[in-house]
Amino acid sequence: MSEADASVVIEGLRKRFEAPDGKPFDAIDDISLTVRAGELTAFVGPDGAGKTTLMRMMAGLLRPDDGSLQVLGIDVRADPQAVQNRISYMPQRFGLYEDLSVQENLDLYADLHGVPQEVRRERFGRMLEMTDMARFTDRPAGKLSGGMKQKLGLACTLVRSPDLLLLDEPSVGVDPLSRRDLWKILDQLIADEQLSVIVSTAYMDEAERCAQIFVLNRGKVLADDAPDTLREKADGLTYVADALPDAPARTLQARLIDAPDRIVDAVPKGGDVHFIRRPECEEAALGDLLSGTRFEPREAKLEDAFMLLLREHEGEAASGNDMATADLPPSGEKEAGRSGNDQEAPAIVVRDLVRKFGDFTAVASTSFDVRRGEIFGLLGPNGAGKTTTFRMLCGLLPATSGHLEVAGLDLRTARAKARGRIGYVSQKFALYGNLSVRENLEFFAGAYGLRGAHARERVKAVIAQFTLDQAAQSGILPVGYKQRLAMAAGLLHEPDILFLDEPTSGIDPLARRAFWRTITSLAQAGVTVIVTTHFMEEAEYCDRIAIQDAGEMLALGTPAEVRAQAGETASDMNEAFIAIVEQGRARHTDKKAAA
C-alpha cells in the first residue's frame, strides 16, 4: 500500500518491557497491521492490551525491539523527528502547564508547531468556540475542571491540522457531558479537514464511530474490522432476560456471570439482564440457569462482540482470571431479608445538607436517605459536588449546615463513633506499595483498632474472601487486584456501610465485572454500599441513584425512575444522564435570566 492509502504500516512489531516483578514480558507481541489514511481508526482493548505502548511507538517516543513501523511513509525508528513534525499526539494525561493560562498554553504549542500568526487567529477562535472556553482564556490551566482540561489538551494538540492525529484514551476519567463535547470537536474537525485519526478507547460507543477497529489484548491483535462486521461475531448469541421476581436485576446477572462455562458476559440494563451465551452452549441448556424467567434473543452490539473476543482470548491465555467468587454467597438466594429491612431505620439520613467554600456553594441543600443493604450510586459531571458530598458522609469534611446521620449516629456529635461503622475506599487506593498484601491489611487492621486474635482472624477472612495472595508485594499487583486489596482493607472492621469513590475508573471491563460481582454479594450480605462512578452503565447495578450537578440534586430514584424522568429520547443511562444534567442547567439559566 502506498503512503496515500495507509497512514501506518506495521510488520512484526515487538516491544518488550520488564514487569514490576522483574520478568520480561511482551507489551506488543509480533503485531502486523495497516491503518488506512483519511479515516477514523480505533484501538480497543482492556488495560495492558498494549494500546498506549503502540501509540507511543508510533509517536517515536518508544523504540521498537523488533519489526518495522512506518508512519506517513517514514520509518519511525530511523527518523522520529520527521514523524513528530507531521503528527499531533495527545497522551492519556495531556501535559498542560498548570501555572500557565489557557491562552498561554495554546500559544506555546502554536509556537512549537510553527503556526503562522494569521492562521493562528482563525484557528484559536474556532478552537475556543468549540471547546466553549473563550471566557476562560486568562484562567490558569490548573484551575480548570477535569473535563475542561481534557478539552484544552485536545485544543493544544490541534493548534494545527496534522497529517495524522493520535489520541490515547482521550476520554478516560471524563464525565459523559465532557466526553460528548470532546467528540463533537473531533467530528467537526474530521469532517472539515479529512483528518487521519487513531484513537484508543475503552468505550464501545466511541469505537462504534470509527471506520475500522483493532481489538487488542495482551499485546496481540484479536480482530480487525469495521464495527458492523465485528458485531456479527456475536450474532445469535445475545439475549435479554427479565429480572428474577422480587430481586434486582443484578441478582440474576451475578448468577449468570458465575457460570462462565455457559455464559460469556452478563450485565444489568434497564431493569433487565443482557447476556451472551457461549457459542458451544446450546440455547436449551440455559433454562435452569435462568430458573424459568422469560428470555429472548436481542440484537448483538459491538460490546458483545468485544466481550466475546476478550473472553475467548483470556481463556486461551490463562485460566487465571478468577472472579473473586471463592467465598461469595451463592447468588441465587433472595437478598438477605431485604423486605424486612425496609422498615428498619435507614443507614444514612441526609437532610438539607449544605457545604460552602467561601462564596462557592459546593453542595446546596441536599436531602436523601439510603436504606440498609442498598447499593446507592452518586453520579454527576466533574465538579458536580459528588466528592464533597462523599467526604461529608464519611465525616472527612464538616458540613456547613444540615443534618447528617450515618448508621444511626449524628455526624455532628459522634463523628469518631460513626467512622468506626463505615469503610472508605478512596479513588487512588491508599495502600503502601512496598508492603506485602498481608502487611498492608495488618496495618489497616491496627488503624481500625482491631487487636490480637480478632485482627488476625479478620485479615485471614478478607484474604480468603477476595482471593488475595498474602505474600505478594502490593505495589506490583495488577490494577484489578490493587482495587480488591483496597476493598479488603476497607472491610476489615466489618463496617455497616462501604463508601467507594470512583472505584472502577481506569479499570478494564473484565475487572469491572469482577468488581461489581463482589459488590452484589456484599449487598446480599447486608452491607450498604455508596458508590460514585463515571460509567453510566454501572448505575444499572444500583438500587437507587442520585444525579448531582453544580451542587444540586437533579434526580433521585431507581435507575428506571431516573430514565423515566429523562424522557422518551433517552435510550440508555448515558443519554438519560446527559438529558437530566442539561435540563437542570437550562432551568438554572432560566432562573438567572428571570432574576
Binding site: L61, Q81, Q84, P91, F94, D99, L100, L108, Y109, L166
Partner: protein, 375 residues
C-alpha cells in the same frame, strides 16, 4: 518555515514559558533570590574563626608594679577582656565553667626572677577548641611581649636573648577569616542557585507528564536545554552581583584581580552548575530525588571539599582526588586568588579551560537525557 527561524521561534516560546513559570512560582523565586542573601549574611557574619573579646582570667600572685606592667597589654588588646579572680583556684573554677577562655598566671617570684632575667608567666588555654586556643595564645603572647619590648627599648639594651621573631602574613594581612570565606561564598551561592533550582525543572515536567506532549512537536533537545538555562542564568547573574557587591562594600574584601575575569569565570561556573542540576533532574525524573541529589552532589561537596574552609593539602589522597574532580574546587581556587592575590593568568586560563570542559560535557549529557524517548 526555515530551520533557523523555527529554532528561534521555538526557543523564544519555550524560554517565555520558563520565565512565566519561574515568576509564578514564589518558592522558586524565594530560593533564587532570598536564600543567597541569607547565605551571604549567615556565612559573612556568622562563620568567622576570629576571636574577639575573649575573656581571660589574670591571676596576680605577685602584685608588684613590674608584674602589673607585664600584663597591662592584655587590657589594651581588642581581642581580650581581662577578668580578675582572687586566686588560682577561683580561676580554675571559671575556666571549668567556660566563663574564661584562658588563664594568665603571674607567679609570686615574678619580680625577683625578672631581675635575674628569667621571669616566667604561665598561660593556660582551653584546648577543647584548638583554633580559638591557638588564636588566644597568639594574642596573649603579643599583649605581654609588647610592653616588655617597650621596656627594653626604653632601657636601650636588647631584651631577652636578643632574637625577636617578626611575623608577617601575606595576602590576608589581618589574618581576617572573612576575607578568606567571602570569596568562597560566591562559589557556594552559584552552586546552590545553579544545581538546586534547575534540579527541579526537568523532573517536574516528567512528573506532570508535560514532556510527553512536548516531545511530539518539532522541539529539539538542545532547545529544551537552552530555554531552561536562560532564565536561571539571569537569576544567577543577579545573585553574583549581590555577592560581589556585598563582598566589596559590606565585608570590605579587597578585589585585587580583574573584576571582568571574576565575572566571566563566575558565569562560566554558573553554567556548569546549572547544567549539573539539569542533568540530575533529567536522570532522576523525580523532583524529590533530584533536589536531594543536587544537594549531595553539588552543594555539600562544594562546601566541604572545594577548599572553601579546609585546606585541601591536609586531606587524605582519596579526598584530594575527589576534590580535584569537582568543578567547584577549580572555581574556588580561581576566585580566591582573583580576590586576594590578583590575576594570575596561567591559573585563570587553566581553571577556565577546565570549567569549559565541564560545561560542554554536561551540556552533551543533559541533551542526551532529553533525547525524546520515554524508555
Amino acid at each position: 518555515m526555515s530551520g533557523a527561524s523555527g529554532f528561534r521561534t521555538r526557543l523564544v516560546a519555550l524560554t517565555r514559558k520558563e520565565v512565566r513559570q519561574l515568576l509564578r512560582d514564589r518558592s522558586n523565586l524565594f530560593v533564587g533570590l532570598l536564600l543567597p542573601l541569607a547565605l551571604i549574611l549567615l556565612f559573612g557574619y556568622g562563620l568567622s574563626f576570629d576571636v574577639k573579646d575573649a575573656p581571660v582570667a589574670i591571676v596576680l600572685e605577685d602584685r608588684s608594679p613590674t608584674a602589673q606592667e607585664a600584663i597591662a597589654g592584655i587590657g589594651g588588646s581588642p581581642y581580650l577582656v581581662p577578668v580578675w579572680p582572687a586566686s588560682m583556684a577561683e580561676a580554675v573554677v571559671l575556666m571549668r565553667a567556660k566563663k574564661v577562655e584562658a588563664i594568665v598566671r603571674v607567679p609570686v617570684d615574678f619580680s625577683q626572677r625578672r631581675g635575674a632575667g628569667d621571669a616566667r608567666i604561665q598561660l593556660i588555654v582551653n584546648g577543647a577548641d584548638a583554633t580559638t586556643a591557638s588564636s588566644i595564645e597568639g594574642y596573649v603572647n603579643g599583649a605581654i611581649q609588647t610592653p616588655s619590648r617597650h621596656a627594653a627599648d626604653r632601657s636601650g639594651g636588647p631584651s631577652g636573648g636578643g632574637v625577636t621573631l617578626v611575623q608577617r602574613t601575606w595576602f590576608n594581612e589581618a589574618g581576617n577569616s572573612t576575607w578568606y570565606l567571602v570569596p568562597g561564598l560566591l562559589v557556594l551561592v552559584m552552586t546552590l542557585i545553579g544545581a538546586f533550582l534547575t534540579s527541579l525543572l526537568i523532573a517536574r515536567e516528567w512528573e506532570r507528564g508535560t514532556l510527553e506532549s512536548l516531545f511530539v512537536t518539532p522541539v529539539r533537545p538542545i532547545e529544551l536545554v537552552l530555554s531552561k538555562l536562560a532564565p536561571y542564568l539571569v537569576i544567577g547573574a543577579i545573585d553574583m552581583s549581590v555577592c560581589l557587591i556585598s563582598a566589596r562594600f559590606l565585608f570590605e574584601v579587597p578585589i585585587r584581580g580583574s573584576l571582568v575575569v571574576i565575572i566571566i569565570a563566575s558565569l562560566l561556573y554558573l553554567i556548569v552548575a546549572l547544567l549539573l542540576g539539569l542533568f540530575i533532574s533529567g536522570a532522576t525524573r523525580n523532583q524529590f530525588a533530584a533536589s536531594q541529589m543536587a544537594l549531595l552532589a553539588s552543594f555539600m561537596p562544594a562546601m566541604m571539599l572545594s577548599g572553601f574552609v579546609f585546606d585541601l593539602r591536609n586531606v587524605p589522597v582519596v579526598i584530594q582526588v575527589i576534590s580535584q574532580l569537582l568543578p567547584a574546587t577549580h572555581f574556588m581556587e580561581l576566585v580566591k586568588s582573583l580576590f586576594l592575590a590578583g590575576t594570575i593568568w596561567p591559573m585563570v586560563l587553566k581553571d577556565c579551560a577546565i570549567l569549559t570542559l565541564y560545561a560542554v560535557l554536561l551540556a552533551f549529557l543533559t541533551g542526551r537525557m532529553l533525547r525524546k524517548r520515554l524508555d
